[in-house]
C-alpha cells in the first residue's frame, strides 16, 4: 500500500464485504422469517463476520494504519452495558420485572428492533431487553465487587508474601494452595449450598475464589519487581520498607493486577451465570442472564430468542472483557519486562 494515495482496490473490496455482510444480516433477520432458525442464525452470523471484516479493512485502507476494530468495539460495548445497567431505572424500557403488569402483552414475541420490545418478550410477556439490562446490573455488581474484594485482600497478601518472604510467605502460599485445591465451581457450589443466594453472598463466594489467584499473581509480580535496580537504589538511598512497598512495589504491581482483573471479571460473570442457570443463585423476580436462559430453554426449539437474546449479551460482555484484558496485559506486561 502506498503512503500517499488510498488503495482504491482494497477499499472497494472492503466496502463490498461490508455491504454484503449487512445485506446478509438484513436478509437473515427480516426476509427469511419463515425459514427455520437453524438456517437463519448461520446466515446472520456469517453476515456479521463479513461486515466486521469489511469494516476493519475499510478503516485500515482509509486511515492507512491498522486499528484494532474488535478492541474499539469491545470498549464501546463495555461502556454501553455499564451505562445501561447504571441508568436502567431511567431508560424507557417495557415492563420486565413484574409479571402481573404484563397480562395484556403477548408472550414470546419475536425480536423486532424497532418495536417496544427490541429483543422480544419471554414466557410471561416480560420484556427481554429490560431483563437483560437489569441482569447486567447483577452480573456487573457481582463480578466487579468480587474482583475488588479479591484484589484488595489477595493483592495485599501477595505483596506482603513476596516482600517479606520466609515463613509469612510459606503460610500465605499454603493457604492459597488450599483454596486452589478445590475445583473452583465446586467450591462455589459448596458455599451456595449452605448460604442464602443473595447478591451479597454470591459476591462473597466469588471473592473467596479470586483471593488465592490474586495472591499468587501479586506475589510473583512482587518477586520480579523487588529484584529490580530501582528498588535497590531506593533502599540504598535509605528508604524504609513501608516506603519501598508504597512507592516502588505497589505502583509496579498494580498494572499487572488491573490487567488481569478484566479477564477475571469475565470468568466470574460466567461463574455467576452458570450458578443462576443451575437455579442456585439469584432467582426470579430478579432477572439475571443465567436464570433468563434457564427459563427460556424449555421452549427454545420454537422460540430460540428466549435463550439466544440474553445469551448473545452474555457472550458479547465476556468477549469484550477478555479482549480488553488481553490488550491491557500485553501493553502492561511488556513494560514490565
Amino acid at each position: 500500500m502506498s503512503d500517499a494515495t488510498i488503495d482504491r482496490k482494497r477499499l472497494a473490496i472492503a466496502v463490498l464485504a461490508l455491504v454484503a455482510g449487512g445485506a446478509a444480516v438484513w436478509v437473515g433477520s427480516a426476509l427469511l422469517v419463515d425459514v427455520t432458525a437453524g438456517w437463519r442464525v448461520p446466515v446472520i452470523l456469517v453476515g456479521i463476520a463479513l461486515a466486521l471484516i469489511g469494516l476493519d479493512r475499510a478503516l485500515t485502507a482509509l486511515l492507512r494504519r491498522r486499528i484494532q476494530i474488535a478492541l474499539v468495539l469491545s470498549v464501546a460495548w463495555l461502556v454501553a452495558i455499564v451505562a445501561a445497567a447504571a441508568l436502567a431505572d431511567f431508560l424507557p424500557l417495557s415492563e420486565s420485572l413484574r409479571p402481573d403488569q404484563t397480562l395484556d402483552v403477548p408472550a414470546r414475541l419475536r425480536p423486532d428492533l424497532f418495536s417496544a420490545h427490541p429483543l422480544g418478550t419471554d414466557n410471561q410477556g416480560l420484556d427481554i431487553l429490560g431483563g437483560v439490562i437489569y441482569g447486567a446490573r447483577v452480573s456487573l455488581i457481582v463480578g466487579c465487587g468480587a474482583v475488588l474484594i479479591g484484589a484488595l485482600i489477595g493483592g495485599l497478601g501477595g505483596i506482603i508474601a513476596g516482600f517479606k518472604r520466609g515463613r509469612t510467605e510459606s503460610v500465605l502460599l499454603f493457604l492459597a494452595d488450599l483454596l486452589l485445591a478445590f475445583p473452583p465451581l465446586i467450591l462455589l457450589l459448596a458455599m451456595v449450598a449452605v448460604l442464602e443466594p443473595s447478591v451479597r453472598n454470591v459476591t462473597l463466594g466469588l471473592a473467596v475464589l479470586s483471593v488465592p489467584i490474586y495472591l499468587r499473581l501479586a506475589r510473583a509480580t512482587t518477586l520480579a519487581v523487588a529484584k529490580r535496580e530501582y528498588v535497590l537504589a531506593a533502599r540504598v538511598l535509605g528508604a524504609r520498607n513501608r516506603r519501598l512497598v508504597v512507592s516502588e512495589i505497589v505502583p509496579n504491581v498494580l498494572p499487572v493486577v488491573i490487567a488481569y482483573s478484566f479477564v477475571l471479571v469475565a470468568v466470574l460473570i460466567v461463574a455467576e451465570a452458570s450458578l443462576s442457570y443451575l437455579g442456585l443463585s439469584i432467582k426470579r423476580p430478579n432477572p439475571t442472564w443465567g436464570n433468563m436462559i434457564a427459563a427460556g430453554q424449555e421452549s427454545f426449539n420454537r422460540h430460540p430468542h428466549l435463550v439466544f437474546g440474553p445469551g448473545i449479551i452474555l457472550f458479547l460482555t465476556v468477549f469484550a472483557l477478555n479482549r480488553v484484558g488481553e490488550a491491557a496485559s500485553s501493553k502492561w506486561s511488556r513494560r514490565r519486562r
Partner: protein
Amino acid sequence: MIRRGAIKVVRMIAIVLLVTLGTTLLLELVPGDVASSVLGEGATAEQYEALREELRLDQSIPSRYGDWLGGAVTGDFGKSIVPPVTEVGSLISARLPVTIEIAVLAMLLSLFAAIPLAMWTAYRAGGAGDKLVSGFAFGAISVPSFLSALLVIFFVIFHPGATKALIAAVGVMVVASIVVGWIKADRRPHSRRAWARSAAAAVAVVVLTVLVVWQFPAFPRQGFVRITEGGLASNLRSAFLPALTLALLEASVYLRVLRADLITTLDEDFVLSAEAKGLPAWRVMARHALRPSSLSLVTVAGVGFARLLGGTIIVEAVFNVRGMGDLIVNAIQTKDYPVVQAGVAVLAVVFVVMNALVDVTYTYLDPRIRARHV
C-alpha cells in the same frame, strides 16, 4: 529427588486432609439450626433427634471429622437424609464413572482437534486460515459452557440439516485448500511422495465428510446410557454431545497455548537447520517443533481437568446426565448435606491427586526441570 517427592506426597496428603475438613465445616456455615432447616416445620422431636444423631451434630468438630474420615476411608459416607434414603457411597460409585467418562472423552476430543490445528495455524501464522481459526478460538473461550451446550443442542439436535451443511462446507473448504496447494506447488519442484501424501489426505477428508453427513448419528437430547445397559455405541452416542460441548472450550484453550509456543519455537535455529536439510514441513513440525513446545500444553491440560470437572457439572444439568454434578446440584437443592459433603470431598480429592500427577509428569517431561533438582 526422593526428598522432593516425599515433600510433595506429604503436602498432598495435608491438602487432602484439610480439604475434607473444609467440607465437614460446611455444616457450620449453615445459618440457624441445621436439623430444623432440613426437616422444616411439622417435624417431631424424635425425627429432630434422629437427624442430629445422623449428622453427628451433637459431637465436637474434631470427633465429627474423625468419624466421617474413618468411614470415608472405607467407602462409608453415611446415608442420605432426604428420602429415598440410600448409602451415599453407592450413590457416588454409581455417578463418578459417568462424570469421569465425559471429562476424559472431552479431553481426548480437544487434544485431537487442538494439536493438528495448532501446528497448522502456527506454520501459517498470520494467514487467512490462522485468522479464522484463532478468531474462532478466542470467541469460543468467551462462551459459557451452558450456553455452548444449548447451541450444540440447537444445531445438532433441532437443526441437523444445517449442521450437516456446515460440516460439508468445512470439508469442501479443506479439500479446496489442498487442491489450491497442488496448483501452487506445480510451480515448485516436488517429490512424488509429497503428491501421494496430499492426495491421500484429500481423499481421506472427502470420505470422512461424506461418511459423517451420510451416517449422521441421532444423538439423544438428554440422558446417559451406560455401557452395561446399551452397549458401547449408544454409550458413546449419549456421551458425545456433552463431551463435544466441553471440548469446544477446552480445545480453544489448548490451541491458543500450543500455537503461541510453536510460533516461538519455529524461530529457533534447530528448526531452521531441519528445514535447511530439506525435511518436509509436516515432519519439521511434528518431530522437531512439537515436543519442545508441548510443555505449557501439558500444564494447561493438567489444570484443564479442573475446568472439565466444573464444566461437566454444567453440561450434566443441560443434557440431564446423571453424574456427580447432577448429584451435587440436586443434593444442594434438597439440602441433603451428607451427599453434598461427600460429593464435594470426592471431587476435590480427585482434583488434588490429578494435579499432583501432572506435577510429576511435568518434571519428567522437561529435562531442564529434572536437571535442576537432581
